[in-house]
């Protein structure tokens, strides 16, 4: 246990039972070998405890690069990332996994596992190599499964799940990590409307319980409804950041997404909502 760890623990605990921790990304520049353009060109953002922060933007704007920079899997040539008061570099892989739970966009599956074994891997960083699951481990595994509605599927194989079930099991694994910071890269990619809404409501609850939630998503309208802070990326740069009102602006989104669209306030739920127009509108407008 390092002094940084001890200091972090002095912070006020939240109702989730985790310690509140801010995620701060400062002026991060990432450039892949052999690529002329920078994938991230000086991106800064702060995700605060108790709220949902969303990163949106077109394909290739650098959204997933932020997640991979956090996982230390790409060449960061400048900038700093802090979790709580500690710099990302000071984290061992294990301590990182007990502090930040990430649901990556992609994942390989060489060997189909049982759902309960798969979700139990969320406790990997908490456990010794041969130790059995403790009561605490089991508690967080069961909790993760219950909150994602997958408790009934513990004995099923991961290769027999539907796309939606698979996404929920992945989120359950991240919840089993019981980390104060939760980062999700397109967690609703294969989900139907009901399951997508359930995930957004779950993330909303987790944020309200005091966790720091950073969400990468293509679902602008749901993000506008649920996230308290939105970061719009465009070609590796922050095009806009702030509340839904500051980011959900028609001319800004039209420029960033390079597509004709309108932003209206939805009559039913009162949230700002983006509606893409037919491509032919580009020429007539």
């Amino acid at each position: 246990m390092t002094t940084g760890d001890a200091r972090d623990r002095d912070a006020a605990p939240s109702s989730s039972g985790t310690t509140a921790m801010r995620l701060r990304i400062d002026d991060v520049v990432v450039q892949y070998a052999g690529s002329a353009a920078r994938a991230l060109d000086g991106v800064s953002l702060v995700a605060t405890p108790g709220s949902m922060t969303a990163v949106v933007g077109p394909n290739g704007s650098g959204k997933s690069t932020i997640v991979r920079a956090l996982l230390r899997l790409n060449p960061r040539i400048r900038g700093a990332i802090h979790i709580g008061d500690s710099s990302l570099e000071s984290f061992t892989p294990r301590r990182f996994a007990t502090t930040v739970a990430v649901v990556p966009q992609r994942e390989e599956s060489l060997m189909p596992m049982l759902v309960k074994d798969y979700v139990a891997l969320g406790r990997h960083a908490h456990r010794s190599a041969f130790g059995a699951l403790t009561a605490e481990d089991t508690h967080h595994i069961v909790d993760g499964l219950a909150r994602t509605g997958m408790g009934h599927a513990v004995d099923r194989r991961t290769d027999q799940l539907s796309g939606g079930e698979w996404q929920r099991v992945r989120i359950a694994r991240a919840l089993a990590q019981h980390a104060p910071v939760l980062v999700l890269d397109e967690p609703t990619a294969f989900l139907d409307i009901a399951h997508e809404m359930a995930v957004f409501e779950l993330l909303d609850t987790l944020a309200r319980e005091g966790r720091t939630v950073l969400l990468v998503s293509h679902q602008l309208n749901l993000v506008a409804r649920f996230a308290s802070h939105i970061v719009l990326l465009h070609r590796g740069l922050v095009a806009a950041a702030g509340s839904a009102g500051e980011v959900m602006r028609g001319e800004l989104l039209e420029r960033v997404y390079d597509w004709p669209l309108v932003v209206t306030r939805d009559a039913a739920v009162g949230a700002l909502s983006m509606l893409p127009l037919r491509g032919s509108a580009k020429r007539t407008r």
Partner: protein, 335 residues
């Protein structure tokens, strides 16, 4: 959660129990069958040194060490292959794809070319050659890409292996027939020269090298999901995969040093373990070890009885077993 968890454990234990039974039955059969057949009832007394002196010698000095050596080769190759497949995320990876085979053969051939005749020294030379080739593969992959791109390891393995094969062929171009025969022994594999000393050496190597792989099994579970998932679950992807790669390769090298190159086992057995229901790497490696041991005892039995008194190369027998298995898998995949 406790009830379903127990059910899954029983599944793994059932597989392990089947594996243990398989090994025991195969051992008994292999000791009983041969040019001189020994009734199963007499095997036990011969083991204790009771009965006909010739039978005792055949059982204690020839058949038991040979069957045990074959079993240990099966354990080493299967555990090595299972760990590598998980770490490289490739069900077609096998130890010999990564330079081990070529390196071992080069070591043995160089030792023979230097006029060394002691089998022990040639064995050590083979192991050193394999360990060196493995380290070379690791360094080439690191220099080429730096990160943990597993494809680079495979490509570096192919390069080092091809170079080693070329070196052997050049070295053997004008070799006298008896040296050619010795080299062939390395390239095709055989347990025919098994001694209790060789069994003991390989057993120690397996304990030393297979234990850490089984210890790291949950790391391998996580690595098998890809870099992003592994990093998010707290595994240092680059360091851990390099560690598994080196230890698994040395394990394969130890089997090569003991019995030459026996292909297909390290490839096929982990696939069988997955197909019959191993759901994570710890059970997969243990089940593979047992299945691999049983399979190799059987393969060696075939090698010495199919065309007796001639001894077939072990590598040829395992390939003949592996081919239909792969055809079956292909049909399953296509279905």
């Amino acid at each position: 959660m406790s009830t379903p968890a127990r059910r899954a454990e029983i599944d793994a234990r059932l597989l392990a129990a089947l594996g243990v039974c398989g090994v025991v039955v195969m051992l008994a059969v292999a000791v009983a069958i041969g040019t001189v057949s020994v009734p199963i009832g007499e095997v036990w007394s011969a083991l204790r040194g009771v009965g006909d002196a010739t039978t005792v010698t055949i059982v204690r000095d020839l058949r038991v060490p040979r069957a045990l050596l074959a079993a240990l080769v099966g354990v080493g190759l299967s555990v090595s292959g299972g760990a590598l497949q998980g770490t490289l995320r490739n069900p077609l990876a096998e130890p010999f794809l990564l330079g081990v085979s070529g390196g071992a053969a080069v070591g043995a051939v160089i030792a023979t070319a230097l006029g060394i005749t002691s089998p022990l020294v040639v064995t050590v030379a083979a192991f050193v050659g394999a360990a060196f080739a493995t380290a070379l593969v690791s360094v080439i992959a690191r220099v080429a890409g730096g990160g943990s791109d597993t494809r680079l390891l495979l490509m570096a393995g192919v390069v080092v292996g091809a170079f080693a094969n070329a070196a052997i062929l050049v070295a053997l171009a004008d070799a006298p027939p008896e040296r050619l025969r010795g080299a062939l022994w390395w390239m095709m594999g055989s347990a025919a020269d098994a001694t209790w000393g060789a069994v003991a050496r390989l057993a120690v190597a397996i304990v030393v090298l297979a234990t850490p792989l089984i210890w790291w099994a949950r790391d391998i579970d996580v690595l098998a999901m890809g870099d992003d998932a592994a990093a998010s679950l707290g595994v240092d992807t680059v360091r851990t995969s390099r560690r598994v790669f080196l230890v698994a390769s040395w394990l394969a090298a130890a089997t090569v040093a003991a019995a030459g190159l026996v292909g297909f086992v390290g490839l096929v057995v982990p696939n069988i373990a997955r197909a019959v229901g191993a759901r994570h790497h710890r059970s997969m490696l243990l089940v593979s070890a047992l299945f691999g041991a049983a399979l190799m005892i059987g393969a060696d039995l075939l090698a010495r009885t199919a065309r007796a008194p001639a001894d077939l190369p072990l590598g040829a027998v395992t390939a003949l077993i592996g081919v239909p298995f792969f055809l079956l898998r292909m049909r399953r995949l296509a279905a």
